[in-house]
């Protein structure tokens, strides 16, 4: 089974190293650098899991999350944030985010979490 993952962050470098890391682990990875691009990619690429930055210029992560969960409720979404402020994370969890992780990222933890979400996705949960 192919594991498909979409990485969304306005910082191109972040998208790049995550892409290398997960491709190294046999994931099929797509990237998006804005909220709008993320929604396009969700429709065309049909990922199992989305890694979504909260703070982005223009359409932010929370809006994207709402749209994804409304249109594709099965897709798992992990929020990424640079600032651990309760409000935004709480809001994201309310909109149905599956987890959140803070920058700087621990790739070891992230990999495990993505793996968990993918197996959940496979079960259709």
């Amino acid at each position: 089974m192919i594991k498909k993952m979409l990485i969304v962050d306005d910082e191109i470098e972040i998208c790049e190293f995550l892409k290398i890391f997960f491709e190294d682990r046999d994931y099929k990875v797509a990237t998006g650098f804005s909220g709008e691009e993320a929604l396009e990619k969700v429709a065309s690429f049909q990922p199992d899991v989305v890694l979504l930055d909260i703070q982005m210029p223009g359409m932010d992560g929370l809006k994207v999350l709402k749209k994804i969960k409304a249109e594709h409720p099965k897709i798992k979404v992990i929020m990424v944030t640079a600032v651990e402020t309760g409000d935004k994370i709480e809001e994201a969890m309310r909109y149905g985010a599956d987890n959140y992780i803070t920058k700087p990222l621990s790739l070891e933890y992230l990999e495990k979490d993505v793996q968990d979400k993918i197996s959940l996705f496979a079960k259709g949960a």
Partner: protein, 526 residues
């Protein structure tokens, strides 16, 4: 209140209807002297001087008329003379008493400290007049009653508990009678059984035989209640006159001191709300700054750390050389350390808005100890805790309390290094309404010249640490109106003491909305 002349329960003359043996003696002496002079002039003089006999005439009532005239004319001067004589030779003490009290009045006139004034009044009064008890009561505007400002011959705890309601029978009588000294026995005799009963309760409570009201311009600013050592102690009319004068002086001093006290209080309240406002503004500024920094710095840190991790964790046959691996590991670790600074700053600025709840300090301590147990066992550190069995639940923000414990304990663990002891103690001081956290370690101690710096931000002796732990702890403790201090001896260990005012209930229970549930997962620097 204006004094009502001839009020039903009270009249002026009754109050001064007192005869001490002293004044009886005085009156007898004056009478004897006048009789002697009268008799001399009326009966003896006509025999010696025939011309005078001619003037007196032979009417039998003439000598009596002459005696009456002499009596009326000479009474006042003779009385003054006898009084002076008596005071000079027999009642020296009394004039000494008056002089002392008048001297006190002079001292009071220039004093503006309510406590000092009260202490001076009750102590001087008690000592000089040989009284058993003296209590000076002043109005407490907050509780709307009279409280003891200072007491003589009282147990401090008993005098502190003493309260006189503004509508107590005694206060009502004072308002009706005006600035006269109230004498317990006489007053009670003049009243009906029920009225006397209610009033005697107030006198008993004050342990007083006399009450001296303190009026300034018709306003009751306080009262002095005093009781004598011997039940048959009496004061005479001139004493009461003197007391009234004296009461006027005390009343003015107390009035001024009360005004000053109120002004000081208002000033403090103003300063308090101002500093709260400044603190809030400061916190908001720090929060914005920290959030901005976090966003701007955490992204590059994430890239640095992420790229290093990608290299470290890459799959495939090629293995990195050890020195490269070490360098990459160091990069990952140091980026996390840098990120911790902004996390802590954010935590500190947001803490103030966290929800308050009932917190079991014991449970939070146990949770924190559990976090540290593994590390402590590795370092052979023995941690013991002592709990006050009366320790109540504490109203606070759970995360903040956790932060206090964690920082104190982490600091202690770090100070000990390997092999040593840490003692944590939780105490409840019921009298002072304080909860106390004591954390003692047998670590390396803090050099004396650094003692005042340990709570400064970014102060640390470790390379690895950020140096915000104790700073954040101090900020939290201050936010709860508490205090933190440290005692330390280099090479022997340190003792950190945190005192938090005990709050049984949160002031407004409105803040029940769970906020900041995900605020942070406490990050220990490792």
């Amino acid at each position: 209140m204006i004094q009502k002349e001839g009020s039903p329960i009270f009249n002026k003359t009754m109050l001064f209807h007192l005869r001490s043996p002293r004044s009886v003696l005085k009156k007898v002496l004056v009478g004897l002297i006048l009789f002697f002079i009268g008799a001399l002039v009326a009966y003896v003089l006509p025999f010696l001087l025939p011309s005078a006999a001619a003037v007196w005439g032979r009417h039998p009532l003439t000598p009596i008329f002459v005696m009456t005239v002499i009596y009326l004319l000479a009474y006042k001067p003779v009385e003054r003379f006898v009084k002076g004589l008596l005071e000079k030779h027999f009642f020296h003490k009394k004039s000494f008493t008056q002089m002392t009290l008048m001297g006190l009045a002079d001292d009071l006139a220039i004093n503006l400290d309510l406590q000092e004034i009260s202490n001076l009044v009750v102590n001087t009064f008690g000592e000089v007049l040989h009284l058993k008890t003296v209590a000076l009561l002043v109005p407490d505007p907050v509780q709307n009653n009279f409280e003891v400002a200072s007491a003589y011959g009282w147990q401090i705890s008993a005098s502190k508990r003493l309260r006189l309601a503004v509508d107590a029978p005694l206060v009502r009588v004072i308002h009706e009678s005006g600035p006269h000294i109230l004498v317990r026995g006489l007053l009670l005799q003049s009243l009906s059984w029920q009225e006397a009963n209610a009033l005697s309760h107030d006198f008993d409570m004050l342990q007083a035989g006399w009450v001296m009201p303190l009026f300034v311009k018709g306003e009751l600013v306080g009262l002095v209640a005093f009781g004598a050592l011997h039940p048959d102690t009496m004061f005479d009319q001139s004493d009461f006159h003197f007391f009234r004068e004296f009461a006027g002086v005390i009343a003015r001093s107390i009035h001024n001191a009360l005004v000053v006290k109120r002004l000081r209080q208002l000033n403090l309240e103003l300063q308090d709300s101002q500093s709260q406002w400044i603190q809030k503004t400061k916190l908001n500024a720090i929060e914005q700054l920290a959030a901005g920094i976090a966003h701007e710095i955490h992204n590059p840190l994430a890239i640095i750390s992420g790229k290093a991790q990608v290299l470290l964790m890459q799959k495939g046959p090629k293995q990195l050389e050890q020195n490269v691996q070490d360098a990459l590991n160091a990069i990952v670790k140091q980026t996390r350390r840098a990120a911790d600074i902004t996390k802590k700053l954010l935590m500190y600025s947001q803490g103030a808005r966290g929800p308050q709840e009932k917190v079991s300090l014991e449970r939070v301590l146990d949770e924190t100890l559990a976090l540290l147990a593994y590390q402590a066992s590795l370092d052979q550190i023995e941690i013991t805790k002592t709990l006050d069995p009366e320790l109540p639940q504490y109203y606070a923000n759970m995360q903040e309390v956790r932060e206090i414990f964690l920082n104190l304990l982490l600091n202690a663990v770090e100070a000990v290094g390997t092999q040593g002891k840490i003692q944590v103690e939780l105490k409840y001081r019921r009298d002072e309404e304080l909860v106390e956290i004591l954390c003692a370690d047998t670590g390396k101690g803090i050099p004396e010249e650094h003692l005042d710096k340990v709570f400064n931000p970014f102060y640390t002796t470790r390379h690895e640490a950020v140096g915000l732990g104790l700073f954040v702890t101090k900020q939290i403790v201050h936010r709860y109106g508490g205090a933190i201090r440290v005692e330390s001896r280099e090479g022997e260990g340190s003792l950190f003491m945190v005192q938090l005012p005990y709050v049984a209930e949160v002031p407004q229970a409105a803040e029940t909305e769970k906020k900041g549930t995900f605020a942070f997962v406490s990050g220990t620097e490792k």
